[in-house]
Amino acid sequence: MNKRSRLHIPRAPARPGEKPDFRYVQLSPAGAVARPDVNARAREIEHLATDLVRVLDDDGRALGPWDPHLDAAELQVGLRHMLLTRIYDDRMQRTQRAGKITFYMRSLGEEAVSVAACMALKPGDMLFPSYRNQGLHITRGLSLVDMMCQLLSNTRDMCKGRQLPVMYHSRAANIFTISGNLATQLPQAVGWAMAAAIKGEDHLAAGWLGEGSTAEADFHYALLFASVYQAPAILNVVNNQWAISTFQGFAGGEQRSFAARGPGYGIPGVRVDGNDFLAVYAVTRWAAERARTGAGPTLIEHVTYRAAAHSTSDDPSRYRAKDDHLHWPLGDPVERLKRHLIRLGEWSEERHQALTAELEALVAASWKEAVTHGTLTEGPNLDPDLMFEDVFEEMPPHLIKQRAALRKERS
């Protein structure tokens, strides 16, 4: 073992104590990337997997062929959802720190990825989120109280106490149940889309996963089945550069973009500025049109940054440069959309402050209501009998017996 090892080890651009360094992120100027026809063949539009689709420039102008030309009201709604997501996150994080919930995960800095995408889709489209897509739930109008009750595992918890905090779902809003196992939802989304195609229905399925999770087999299955059956699916990779402590290079992002996986399977891959509300909206729309017109699946890589810790159990100061998100070259999605609206004359600092105050009050009021249904430490509590339900549709004899045994144990 004395010869020089040739094992290549990807390197994070900056570790604690080092200066943040984002030169590795390949950028395109806002407005610079062409917008191909939705029926273009994957092979003709491979550049989309290397370029970076951007609409908003640093001065808040919307530029180029991907500008979705949304009206101001829609932009304001988008801003509101993003801001609400952020305020909700912030408050729940503090709630966890105060010991009132066991666990929380923020999406700070990644709000556009969920909110803009969700707004570009139709209500009948089925969403298969990861744990960091709370913007989807908020955009689809889930009640904050319901979401908080899930975090609290209280008597109104939609999961009946069975899931860790943030593992929401909504049958009514067409949002699939979140799994603690990474990436599993992606080929499920493709299966859902295949069923829509089999049934001849006009809905598509959209799934999200982190760039770290693309290493799992399920990402490969999703691309493969989507390609073979040309399923009406949108597969979203949220490349926030980190998977807990592991830099995206360890998921294969050093050699090639994640969007580039698509063309390898004959699926168009689009790299988009994930902090640009307009770009995410436009690219999602484009992908949705492809799906709905039978042109098949699209892979979208959202280039963004995980500004927060991985979760409340994580301390990023151990593995990355302090405050590095402040140096992230694509800025902050809320700030960028706000600047754009102000530039359009459709927003102001005052209105922004007012909205912030309104949403903070909404979150606070929701929390107040949520805790009336119970907290971790105070009742009312869920009935432990519930533990034995929903394992099967009907409770089989052995679970009835175990339920009785638990009753005895607790008596």
Binding site: M126, S179, P187, Q188, G191, W192, M194, A217, Y221
Partner: protein, 338 residues
Amino acid sequence: MAQMNMIQALNSAMDIAMGRDPAVVLMGEDIGYFGGVFRVTDGLQRKYGEHRVIDSPIAEGGIVATAIGMAVNGLRPVAEIQFADYIYPGYDQIVSELARLRYRSAGAFCAPVTIRTPCGGGIRGGQTHSQSPEALFTHVAGLKVVMPSNPFDAKGLLIAAIEDDDPVVFFEPKRLYNGPFDGDPHKPAVPWSTHPKGEVPDGHYTVPLGRAEIVRAGSAVTIVTYGTMVYVAAAAAANLGVDAEIIDLRTLAPLDTDAICTSVKKTGRCVVAHEATRMSGFGAEILSVLQEECFYDLEAPIQRVTGWDTPYPHAFEWEYFPGQKRVELALRAVMEPA
């Protein structure tokens, strides 16, 4: 009533289910145009089209995952895993997703997927075409696990599985596809047409999940078994002239505890037999339940008859397979304990 072998009975089950419910779709490797390597889906693609009988990539994990997604979107997929030995790439989606969807979403979502897969040895398939991994599924809360032993049950159980809203892993002992097999490879093959359970109604019927069947009533000893071992056990008991009560579990999970306990309480003696490896095999669960429920009725230790704790070797197929002799020794031991 028609004469069917197990392949035809399974085919008929899917045909009936597809005819009654347009949501039933099939997916798997080589199942469409070709009709499956064991021909269980023969003719179904021609009848129901390529959008309902779907040839899939060789990706068991992808098959299960997309089947889950289809089920969530209102279909009732029946996925074929070509051999049970190849189910492991789909294990994560089965255990972490399929089995738990209903639970984790408190009933908001469920996935009525049936996974069919040929299992067991006796066809010189060597270590990767002979496995019986059922215990790896009975340990997973949320899954129903089925293994029929004859054409009549196979059809009725498969229709029941497809119609069930819970996920079912459906094992098909491939050595029984063409006829009952009593463990003696030297005897000429017996076709299902000579067996009463080869009489199979053409139309719709179900055999309920979770219910065992007493295939032979007896008073001296209970043999709890399933799949191919049903016939091996019967032959062994006949060889010894033991008046055995033979129970074919048919469904392993949920287990029909009542049926086995009632019998063992009556006979006081029990042999549990399966092809799978012994350690942590499903036999251990059966034995444990009986020990817990019938302790005071037992006159001798329950004996397990199983495959050995090795892979299934090509050359030693019949030394590995728990044949009549192994069952006989167990019956002897339980009848005249040392």
